[in-house]
């Protein structure tokens, strides 16, 4: 089956007073219909920028696509003009943002905020949009939806607002839903509810989801495929079982070890990857993880590794897996 979304060699830069920040430095991935793909990585690794660039939501004043292509259903997004993008945004691709407290317009009723997209993309009348909006709110689990739809955002709690955001994002039944850290700003019990909701929506609507997160628990809960990003590049991809059972890139190994475990001793320190990610104003010539990697070799410093196919769908960008590398270290 054809890919719904294909991102190839994507490079995105921001221009600041300090110079060019190469936020995304060559990202490749593809998503099929109904698939859930997680993009994980620490803050500043370019995952959010990647997500926003799919919908062309980056500020045009100080950012630019330097290279690569984003194909959505065969259409090149990077070349698309504003008119074409308006047809895609909210209609074929929906987006959920990190902070539900600030993502809704505070001076506009929920009914309006849901109806806007429906009226624009589905040509619904005011009344149809309202009724459909109520249905959507019921679908995302908001009690007394018929009454609540007339309320303002500040009358909802954080978790409820995120449900409203989801209702808005799925209103036009998009084929792709981009969720940019949808649970980060919520407390843990609410996080679980929102994840459950996303899972259920995926099953009901067969929507493909790109989930941006740094929470590996969320990934395990929901996703089919994982893309691990580091310093603007993809360092490892694979299906969820492969990545969790057998992480191959040293960075992914570190991430996995950083998850606190229930069977840990109480007085044991939590594991963390030593060091900080490189400055993307002057990205390193070689592997970006070189300075923090305990398997670092001479070659890593000056030459950037290519993605190597490992078993099945798993790939990692690390010199350890180069065909000429004598024997790869298996585990950490």
């Amino acid at each position: 089956m054809d890919n719904l979304l294909e991102v190839k060699d994507l490079e995105v830069s921001f221009y600041t007073h300090a110079g060019e920040v190469q936020a995304v430095r060559g990202v490749n991935f593809a998503i099929k219909q109904g698939e859930v793909v997680a993009i994980v990585g620490e803050s500043g690794c370019g995952k959010s920028v990647t997500a926003k660039s799919i919908m062309k939501l980056l500020p045009s004043s100080n950012s630019s696509y330097k290279k690569g292509s984003i194909l959505f259903k065969g259409q090149e997004i990077i070349q698309a003009n504003e008119r074409e993008m308006k047809k895609i945004r909210g209609n074929e691709i929906g987006m959920i943002f990190q902070d539900p407290m600030t993502s809704l317009n505070p001076t506009s009723k929920i009914s309006d905020q849901i109806a806007e997209g429906l009226r624009k993309h589905r040509n619904m009348s005011r009344k149809e949009a309202l009724n459909y909006g109520i249905k959507l709110l019921e679908m995302v689990g908001i009690p007394h939806a018929a009454e609540r739809i007339h309320h303002y955002p500040h009358e909802f709690s954080g978790g409820m607002r995120q449900r409203v955001m989801i209702a808005i994002a799925i209103a036009c039944e998009p084929e792709l839903l981009i969720a940019d850290e949808p649970t980060t700003a919520l407390d843990v019990t609410i996080q679980a509810q929102i994840l459950k909701l996303l899972k259920q929506l995926k099953d009901d609507l067969n929507t493909a989801i790109v989930l941006i997160t740094h929470d590996l628990g969320v990934v395990a809960e929901l996703c089919d495929k994982v893309i691990v990003m580091y310093a603007g590049k993809v360092v490892e991809t694979g299906n969820i079982a492969e990545i969790f059972r057998n992480p191959r890139h040293p960075y992914t190994m570190g991430l996995m070890r950083s998850i606190p475990r229930l069977d840990m001793q109480r007085d044991e320190n939590l594991y963390s990857i030593v060091g900080t990610p490189p400055d993307l104003l002057n990205p390193p010539k070689g592997c970006a993880f070189y300075s923090r990697c305990k398997y670092a070799m001479k070659i890593c410093k000056d030459f950037s590794p290519e993605m190597e196919s490992l078993e099945q769908s798993q790939k990692a960008a690390c010199w350890l897996y180069h065909p000429l590398a004598k024997s790869a270290v298996k585990t950490s």
Binding site: M55, L57, E82, M85, K86, K87, I88, R89, G90, N91, G94, M95, F97, Q98, D99, T102, S103, L104, N105, P106, T107, S108, K109, E116, G117, K120, H121, Y152, H154, E155, M165, I168, A169
Partner: protein, 309 residues
């Protein structure tokens, strides 16, 4: 809502009382008296005059007499005119000032908002610089300079518009512009910074991600939220404009309340000074009250907070 209004009304009365008392005390503590400039006057006449206006009574008696008459909205007689009362002056002058003020306010709000929004949308590009240069000129050039400048060119040099007085609509144009410039500049700057803040909010990105039209996003998500801080200063600006700028009214020879006030101070005409101060305060308090009510209407978040109290 009613409770809120009642509470505000009570506070308004307290404020008004404080203003009356303070003005009264300050005014009477300045040396000299209303008839000092009248020239030679037989002592008997002087005595009769002071007696007639109760100026010979102790200050606290004068104060209570004044408050008593105020309770029935009587601002008292003018000490300078034998026939006209302060009420007459206000009735005559206020409609003129109101007309001029409303015109200036409309001009200031409409242009101020437009300049502010355009500047914010074109941040650090020429429309932004142009609007902000205009705004800085508007804020830093005093209205009397602007007024004389406008008169010199539009009336004297080019003969396009009348230079002064108040009769036809074309007479109102120059004073309106002179009066509107400062609040317009102020609103433009306020709207620009407010709009810039709103443009960076997450919900702007949400709006864009819904595929809505740019104009719709700017109005419903941008301006609708950015206008809130502007509305909150509107009350004071409006009161300032509606009760007349003393300077602009004097320059253009407009018979409004501003001129009345200036004359009152020159003549040490106690009831006129007090009357116009109180009247000004009343308009100010009333307009701020209106703005508060308007806030209820445009910012839904305040409604809840108010009702919960």
């Amino acid at each position: 809502m009613l409770r809120f209004a009642g509470k505000r009304l009570l506070w308004a009365l307290v404020t008004l009382w404080a203003i009356i008392t303070i003005t009264f005390i300050i005014m009477h503590s300045i040396p000299g008296d209303p008839f000092a400039r009248e020239g030679k006057m037989p002592p008997a006449v002087y005595e009769n005059l002071t007696k007639h206006y109760h100026l010979d009574e102790p200050l606290y008696v004068q104060y209570f007499l004044y408050i008593k008459s105020l309770l029935v909205f009587d601002f008292g007689p003018s000490l300078k005119s034998s026939t006209l009362t302060v009420n007459d002056y206000i009735e005559k002058g206020f409609p003129v000032s109101l007309h001029l003020g409303i015109q200036a306010l409309l001009l200031a709000v409409v242009l101020g908002l437009i300049f502010g929004v355009i500047a914010a949308l074109n941040r650090n590009k020429w429309p932004d610089y142009l609007s902000m240069v205009l705004a800085i000129i508007g804020i830093s050039v005093p209205s009397f300079i602007l007024a004389t400048f406008l008169i010199n060119y539009f009336a004297v040099e080019w003969g396009l518009l009348p230079a002064a007085t108040w009769s036809s609509w074309s007479h109102t144009i120059l004073p309106t512009i002179s009066l509107a410039m400062l609040p317009m500049a102020y609103i433009a700057r306020l709207m620009r910074s407010s709009m810039l803040e709103v443009l960076n909010q997450d919900f702007m990105l949400t709006a864009k991600s819904k595929g809505l039209n740019k104009g719709f996003i700017i109005m419903k998500y941008g301006v609708r939220n950015a206008i809130l801080p502007v509305v909150s200063v509107l009350g004071i600006l409006a009161a300032n404009l509606v009760t007349g700028s003393f300077v602009v009214e004097s320059i253009f020879g407009i018979p409004g309340v501003g001129e009345l006030f200036v004359d009152g101070i020159f003549n040490r005409d106690y009831p006129v000074i007090l009357g116009s101060t109180i009247f000004y305060s009343m308009v100010l308090i009333f307009l701020i009250f209106i703005v508060d009510i308007a806030y209820f209407w445009i910012d839904p978040r305040i409604k809840v907070a108010g009702e919960e109290q």
